[in-house]
């Protein structure tokens, strides 16, 4: 006899905090142990910054220091991919592996499950942004002051929401083998067309025309505006991101309903 007796009354649902913390911790641990994900996620932004940011670090872009400007650009790239990976590829593979079904039969609310994923993405975003800033400072002598660092960090973390929801919708719509490819297929052209990989000032005209309709453009603008690079109202960019969030949320909800009726 090793099991205690089982009470006969219906038991209360567990408070959402404990499962949330356990799930968030497990998400972060898994991401940190996944070297195939972690090393490129941390190194690629540094590599791009070293190749394109450092040679031009002393110049000016949009009236601010070009080194800082490109630092924010590659941070934006890094956080967009973090959000789309954490929600896209991870959700697709957890869904097809059956782990989602295993979670659905436990008495845990979807709020805790998604809250944990969001938290893990924020932690990863904080980590990769800090690593990139440290690299830029130590290697390229491009530093952000503490208030600037916090201001950029806040904008970029909060602005991850629409990309996380886009990733979630993808993860629900696409199988695990295709999710990574489709995420790249969407994010890479979007990053090129939004002024994040190449400053818009040197981009071709048609890119300048479409950029203001893309979520990554507004995300970048929010980051650069912390440096003082962007004139005009900030709330417009937040409004665009909020609008995209709402649209991606609707698609994700539709996709979740569609996914539930299959198995």
């Amino acid at each position: 006899m090793t099991t205690s007796s089982v009470p006969a009354t219906a038991r209360p649902a567990v408070s959402p905090l404990r499962p949330f913390l356990a799930l968030a911790r497990a998400e972060v641990v898994r991401l940190l142990r996944n070297r195939a994900y972690l090393i490129p996620a941390l190194m690629l932004p540094m590599l791009f910054f070293a190749l394109w940011g450092l040679p031009n670090a002393s110049g000016k872009l949009s009236g601010v220091n070009a080194g800082q400007y490109m630092l924010v650009s590659y941070a934006a790239y890094s956080l967009i991919t973090t959000a789309m990976y954490g929600f896209g590829v991870a959700v697709a593979s957890e869904r097809s592996s059956g782990w989602w079904r295993q979670l659905r039969i436990a008495p845990v609310s979807p709020v805790a499950v998604f809250g944990a994923k969001i938290t893990a993405s924020l932690v990863m975003g904080l980590l990769s942004f800090s690593a990139l800033c440290l690299f830029a400072g130590l290697v390229g002598h491009v530093w952000l002051s503490a208030p600037l660092f916090l201001s950029v960090l806040f904008r970029l973390l909060l602005g991850m929401v629409p990309f996380a929801l886009l990733g979630l919708a993808l993860g629900l719509l696409v199988g695990p083998d295709a999710a990574g490819g489709v995420a790249n297929l969407i994010s890479l052209p979007m990053l090129f067309a939004s002024g994040i990989f190449i400053p818009l000032e040197v981009a071709p005209d048609f890119v300048k025309t479409i950029a203001p309709y893309l979520p990554a453009y507004h995300y970048g603008q929010l980051g650069w505006s912390a440096l003082g690079a962007v004139q005009g109202a900030e709330w417009v960019h937040w409004a665009w991101l909020a609008g995209y969030s709402a649209a991606f949320l609707l698609i994700a909800r539709w996709a979740a309903g569609r996914a539930e009726t299959r198995r």
């Binding site: 038991r11 592996s97 008495p107």
Partner: protein, 304 residues
């Protein structure tokens, strides 16, 4: 009501397929029931309904007196699902600990691992487990929340002999604590030994329901074996045989509802026959007879 699971007129359709049709079923507290049936009979569909993973096309499903789609109901249920892969990157202990944190009154991780026979693998990464060990891990996840109802979909598939022994040992301990168990399996010998009740599904309908003994008896099958020089055609011509296996060196093995008639005919066709053996049919024989669509199901075997 103290029924742990109660299905009333439950039907589940997937497009043109009726996975379950008008199913009534109740499971009493403390019972160990086996849900049997050939592939596609509707076993997994029934378990998914009990878990609130899907909603029936019609009818009502109540589990522990409530709707299984409510989280508070699910805190009393543990389950081993078919075809589950857990996420890589965590150790066995970490994963079971994570799952325990989702339940209000879990048992300790150490206890769940020992019930599942995974104590030695506690520190191993889940991605390195063998197929049978993954099933044991799935069992640990099913029990760690201290459920009152355990739903196990083909729990022993892919387990080796030791794994199955550990599994049945764990089940015995949980039953002592008052846990109600429903499992599906194709290992009918295990069922014959351990189950209080056998429910045989075929094409979404219950075709037999009772203790393993009563199901066997209601099917009324016997097994007749002997060795003779009769040809295959002559063996097939013997009256009353439901199934026939012809072995090496003139061995024949029949299942039949009328062993006397068959033996009489066999003795007159082959007076020299030897090694005659008439036994009660196994649960497997009964199962095959109940789910063989070529034969009419014996009326007495259909539960009232």
């Amino acid at each position: 009501m103290n029924d742990v699971v109660c299905f009333e007129g439950v039907s589940q359709r997937f497009g043109p397929v009726a996975a379950l049709s008008d199913l009534d079923l109740e499971l009493k507290a403390g019972q160990l029931s086996a849900l049997l049936g050939p592939n596609g009979a509707g076993k997994t569909t029934a378990i998914d309904l009990m878990l609130g993973l899907s909603q029936p096309t019609s009818g009502t499903v109540r589990v522990l007196g409530a709707d299984p789609r409510k989280p508070s109901t699910r805190s009393g249920i543990g389950a081993m699902l078919q075809d589950i892969n857990v996420p890589a990157g965590l150790s066995v202990r970490e994963l079971v600990g994570l799952y325990a944190a989702l339940y209000p009154q879990p048992m300790t991780v150490g206890k769940a691992l020992s019930l599942a026979g995974l104590t030695e693998q506690a520190r191993q990464r889940v991605s390195g487990l063998s197929g049978g060990q993954k099933r044991r891990l799935s069992f640990a996840l099913a029990v760690v929340g201290q459920p009152r109802l355990l739903l196990l979909d083909e729990p022993t598939a892919a387990m080796d002999v030791q794994g199955r022994a550990a599994f049945w040992q764990g089940i015995a301990e949980l039953r002592e604590a008052g846990c109600t168990v429903l499992l599906t399996t194709h290992m009918l010998e295990e069922v014959d030994r351990a189950a209080d009740r056998v429910i045989v599904l075929n094409k979404g309908k219950v075709v037999a329901d009772g203790t393993p003994n009563s199901v066997r008896e209601r099917v009324g099958l016997s097994r007749v074996r002997f060795v003779s020089t009769l040809s295959a055609a002559q063996l097939h011509a013997l009256p009353g045989a439901e199934t026939l296996d012809i072995g090496q060196a003139g061995q024949a093995s029949f299942s039949t509802r009328t062993p006397e008639t068959l033996v009489r005919a066999a003795l007159s066709a082959a007076p020299e026959l030897s090694n005659l053996e008439v036994t009660r049919a196994s649960l497997e024989d009964a199962f095959l007879s109940l789910t063989n669509d070529q034969l009419p199901a014996p009326a007495a075997a259909v539960s009232a």
